[in-house]
């Protein structure tokens, strides 16, 4: 009986089993789906952007899991760009949210209904 902590997944140079990768991908997909549910259901602008950050996070887990599976560093390098885009998005989106809040005195997404066109 192997040690429970290192079962089927030892450290870096050892290859990882495809089924282990599948477990990580399932976790990442579930996190993405939860973030999507939040983006579609919540009506507060700030929480909606928080949910997009949650989806970025899920994508990062999938990238790192693939990086571990293929034993190269491409996935981890791409997480740096996920971080870059998340930071840029947070700066722009929050500036926009503050601007919108100052105009209508409300964070609700439905006060901007006229933008539906």
């Amino acid at each position: 009986m192997t040690d429970l902590v290192t079962m089927a997944q030892s450290s870096w140079p050892e290859p990882m089993a495809p089924a282990t990768l599948a477990a990580y991908l399932l976790l990442s997909g579930a996190m993405f789906a939860i973030g999507l549910v939040g983006f579609l259901t919540r009506r507060n602008l700030i929480v909606m952007f928080l949910c997009t950050e949650l989806m970025f996070q899920a994508a990062g887990i999938a990238l790192v899991a693939f990086s571990r599976f293929h034993l190269n560093h491409t996935g981890q390098t791409f997480v740096i760009f996920v971080l870059t885009v998340a930071a840029a998005e947070a700066a722009l989106a929050l500036a926009l949210v503050v601007l919108l809040f100052r105009q209508k005195d409300s964070l609700s997404a439905s006060v901007w209904r006229e933008m539906k066109g």
């Binding site: 495809p18 477990a23 259901t41 928080l50 390098t77 740096i80 930071a87 998005e89 503050v98």
Partner: protein, 267 residues
């Protein structure tokens, strides 16, 4: 070749998890959030258990389950918590749990970068904006949750859309990942650091991969950040006036608050 997980088990588990998530979305009157969270956990747990039982020789280690449970629970709470400040704090918890997963996947450098940049910088900006954009409770007024925070919009439709997407993506797992061969690994850092007479560390490998493999991308990242900074500055310094309707609402609120104080003085 047998499939990596039974498709019926996967779909039934995801459907159960979807019902749980739909129940956990905030509602006005009946709010079965805890029951919803438990049902969602059971659904996803069934799928993970099925995945583990079908591949007994490839069970992820214990830390995967611990960190995964924390990450998913915290994400569910981000989505369902009616108060934005708490949602942001739970998001920090889910970032920390993902960092645990990164360490399990031997990506130490990215784990620490995630803590510093995400939990340390981006989320603090979010917290600042949440505090700027919500009215603080004063002494004579109990905090009232905004109407748009209390009630979700079309929870059932949104959950169906998301979980159908999830089922579509994960159904590739039946045979897809089993067909993948683990690559032999191409660690260029080992060639670059050939004089070092030791294994390259994770940080060194990422640095070599970034600078030798993809030199142009750093420039692109720099341009993205510069444009975001310029855009945010332009947006933030614009002076805007309250619209008439919002002015009216603010005046009413102030009047109501003044009336409350006056009543208390009279009493």
């Amino acid at each position: 070749m047998d499939s990596i997980i039974n498709p019926y088990l996967l779909f039934v588990g995801l459907a159960v998890a979807g019902v749980g998530v739909a129940m956990a979305v905030p509602r006005k009157r009946v709010n079965p959030q805890v029951i919803g969270a438990v049902i969602a956990g059971v659904g996803l747990g069934v799928v993970l258990l099925g995945l583990a039982l079908a591949n007994l020789d490839a069970i992820p280690n214990l830390h995967f389950y611990v960190f995964g449970l924390i990450a998913l629970g915290a994400s569910l709470r981000v989505v369902t918590h009616p108060r934005p400040v708490y949602a942001a704090l739970y998001f920090i918890l889910s970032v920390l749990a993902s960092c645990g997963l990164y360490v399990v996947l031997s990506a130490e450098f990215m784990a620490f970068a995630l803590v510093i940049i995400y939990a340390g910088a981006i989320l603090i900006t979010y917290l600042f904006v949440i505090m700027l954009a919500t009215q603080s409770p004063s002494e004579e007024r109990v905090e009232v949750l905004a109407e748009y925070d209390v009630e979700g919009r079309r929870p059932v439709l949104a959950t169906i859309a998301s979980f159908v997407l999830l089922a579509g993506v994960t159904s590739l797992m039946f045979k897809g990942t089993a067909g993948l061969e683990p690559a032999g690994g191409d660690d260029r850092a080992a060639e670059v650091l050939v004089d070092a007479a030791r294994e390259p560390t994770n940080t060194e490998s990422i640095g070599v991969d970034l600078l030798l493999g993809r030199p142009g991308t750093i420039e692109i990242a720099g341009v993205i950040l510069l444009m975001a900074m310029l855009g945010a500055t332009v947006l933030a310094r614009r002076q805007v006036d309250l619209e008439d309707e919002a002015k009216h609402r603010a005046a009413e609120q102030l009047a109501a608050r003044g009336g409350l104080v006056r009543e208390e003085v009279q009493a």
